[in-house]
Amino acid sequence: MNSHEPPAAFLRDLRPGDWLTLLAGGLCIILLGNQVWNGGLADTAVIRSGGKIFSTVPLSRDQHIGVPGPLGTSIITIEKGKARISSDPSPRQYCVRQGWLERSGEIAICLPNEVSVELTGGQKKYDSLNY
């Protein structure tokens, strides 16, 4: 070998099986990543009203649930394994603006209307959340 080699000369050191190994390694990493990092998806929503469990629903069925509170009715939407509070009578709308929840341990709370949705099941990403 002389010093005037093309820039991609190292490609010659890769034999056909090496490409196979690299491909298999890459696939392994992608599978591992999916397995490990997406394992925390939730499967159940726990809806509370006034501190008591109002209902526990699976995320597998799309539905809208009306939850009564002191200010009025909060509407919780469940769709494609995710949940959110889509409508709420609270003045600042924090829980509505929080958007979709999909990981276990995530929670949206409407304090004025005393309604909350917490996702459970799967692996919990957070042990607890404080506000």
């Binding site: 099986g17 190994t21 690299l22 390694g25 890459g26």
Partner: protein, 179 residues
């Protein structure tokens, strides 16, 4: 030690293995000077030497060089029998086990890059096992596995390419050849 001198008789092969281990040790020291974004993610440059020794002198020689490097390296850095030492050792032992199998793959198809990538995956497997069983018995470390695996793939490939490049001239090492 007593006044009598203990003379160990060494062979030329012993000297050769020691020289190779010394080169590997040099690379280990060099590598420790490189800052790492995450503890445990490092290039493993010394494994280039292990790969070359494996290809040229066989598995037994590779075991000697690799383990000598681990033990001498830990003495050098002062972590002999500390957790870091056992992490290195478990990684090296797993790598060597996998290399013992991988070296029998057909040489026409599988070169040093395959050996290197397989060995580096085995390395993190061994290390993560020790970390989980002994140091951090918490499933949370699973979140780090894809990061370590990616590092293993990247550095395994690079080390394999470097080793392959060093051995490109094998078989045509006539005097006066340029590298």
């Amino acid at each position: 030690m007593t006044a009598s001198t203990i003379k160990l008789s060494t062979t030329a092969e012993d000297h050769h293995l020691a020289r190779m281990a010394a080169v590997a040790l040099g690379l280990t020291v060099l590598e420790n000077a490189i800052p790492s974004p995450l503890p445990g993610v490092k290039p493993g440059l010394a494994n280039i030497i292990t790969l070359i020794v494996l290809a040229r002198f066989g598995w037994r020689a590779a075991v000697w060089v690799s383990l000598l490097r681990v033990v001498a390296g830990s003495l050098l850095f002062g972590n002999f029998l500390a957790p870091g030492f056992f992490l290195s050792l478990s990684g090296a032992l797993c790598s060597l086990t996998v290399l013992a199998l991988a070296m029998h793959l057909p040489h026409r198809l599988f070169g040093p890059v395959t050996h290197s990538v397989l060995a580096s995956f085995a390395h993190i497997t061994g290390q993560m096992t020790v970390v989980y069983l002994w140091l951090i018995p918490h499933s949370g470390i699973a979140y780090l596995i894809p990061i370590f695996a990616t590092a293993a793939l990247v550095f395994g490939t690079v080390n394999g390419l470097v080793a392959a490049r060093f051995m490109d001239n094998d078989g045509k090492q006539v005097s006066g050849s340029q590298s």
